[in-house]
Symmetry: C2
DNA sequence: TAGCTAACGTACTGGTTCGTACATTAGCTT
DNA sequence: AAGCTAATGTACGAACCAGTACGTTAGCTA
């Protein structure tokens, strides 16, 4: 993140293409997350940077491409975080629980990203489809899940018939819903899913759920 | 749903306030779900009804109130469906599984509703907050879950430390994510969560997950 | 059947918003 | 230090879009 609050150099404008672009992306991320794609205002983004609207069009081409660039950077940040995952030294149960907790923490810490993903889904993921970068970005987390799952299934510890993508969907569902639907859920059921006091409760609940599912004694069904 | 395709009566316009309002709500639901709140066009809604934009303002007051009315009707439909729930004659395990499956089916059958909820969350649930109707609508499903849960916990069958709201969140998470994030998930991981062939797989997965969580032998942890 | 009012239609406006034409300058290169 | 170009700023236009002023009529009521 580039700070937008640095005092403007008194000696006149400074030229720094990289910084200007990063600053536009920072502010655009906030604005798109705040108001949705159509609700976001290009003029508002420009006003909150140290540069002008002209620069947004100069560097990104238009509102649509700016949103795509925002998504690309947001997903890149996630993928880089996933590459730091270090759970494969644990036994499969502990590794999966730890992975679920890291996903939980990550979603909680990046509500803007969650909002961007919701917005992109409203628009049928057309920006992801239009992005070459996002098409081939892959997911390190999926590889990690795959290896843990294989190990757990091989040893007979994990009985569930799921692959890495399914398990990733299961873990993400809970983490995503909790943040994304916080407002309607709170308004309708009077419970703030993201309240600090409830945090440990839901974190444990997620881990228990995933482990119970994976290790359930299916012969008893 | 009111059909919009009936041929216009040749003898001139017909006056029917209820039908006009219902038709506006039908089309508005589609348009808001399609494009989001800011992306939706009042002119487009009007064009796709047999009436004019003037009538939208006459009956609903404005775009904002129209969206609120759309949400109110959508939630009312859900709540009415929930009142049809008839699972309490089953044993707790079967009852919870059935309830999860009904939620699963309902989400799948109402993608527009899912989109409206996503949109409302982007806007901080401000329309729900502004609606008297939605504030006191409650949730029959929560009552049902609460009673089944109590029965299962009393008999020692359910070991998990959850209440009805938590369990509802868990079930909804999976069902909601699968429909709401279908597009980004498909684009990034190459799997369509709502594909017909996968339907039974995910339906079973959800039931297994919830039951495994509720009945897990926690002493073994 | 005269009259009344809820229901409806047409045409327009004023503000907003994306995008651009045109002008300028920082700072590197030779 | 002259010149060149990437980077930047200003001012404006054209389309769009929510909302409204004003006029009309269906069909019930007395």
């Amino acid at each position: 993140m580039t700070s937008v609050d640095e005092p403007a150099r008194p000696g006149g404008r400074i030229r720094d293409a990289a910084r200007t672009q990063a600053e536009i992306l920072d502010v655009a991320t906030q604005e798109f997350a705040r108001a949705g794609y159509d609700g976001a205002r290009v003029d508002e983004i420009a006003a909150r940077t140290r540069t002008t609207k002209r620069m947004i069009y100069y560097y990104f081409g238009g509102k649509e491409q700016l949103f795509t660039a925002v998504l690309e950077r947001a997903y890149t940040v996630i993928r880089e975080a996933e590459q730091e995952l270090d759970v494969e030294h644990l036994d499969p149960v502990a590794a999966i629980r730890r992975l679920a907790e890291l996903t939980f923490d990550h979603h909680e810490q990046h509500p803007d990203f969650i909002r961007l993903v919701s917005i992109e889904n409203i628009h049928g993921a057309e920006h992801i489809a239009a992005s070459e970068k996002l098409g081939r970005i892959g997911s390190p987390a999926l590889d990690v899940i795959g290896r843990i799952l294989a190990s757990g299934q091989e040893s007979g510890l994990f009985t569930a018939d799921v692959d890495a993508v399914d398990l990733h969907a299961m873990i993400s569902s809970f983490c995503f819903f909790r943040v994304a639907n916080r407002h309607t859920f709170g308004a309708l059921f009077g419970r703030d899913l993201v309240a600090a006091e409830q945090r440990e409760h839901y974190r444990t609940m997620l881990g228990d759920m995933v482990i119970a599912y994976l290790t359930a004694d299916r012969a008893a069904d």
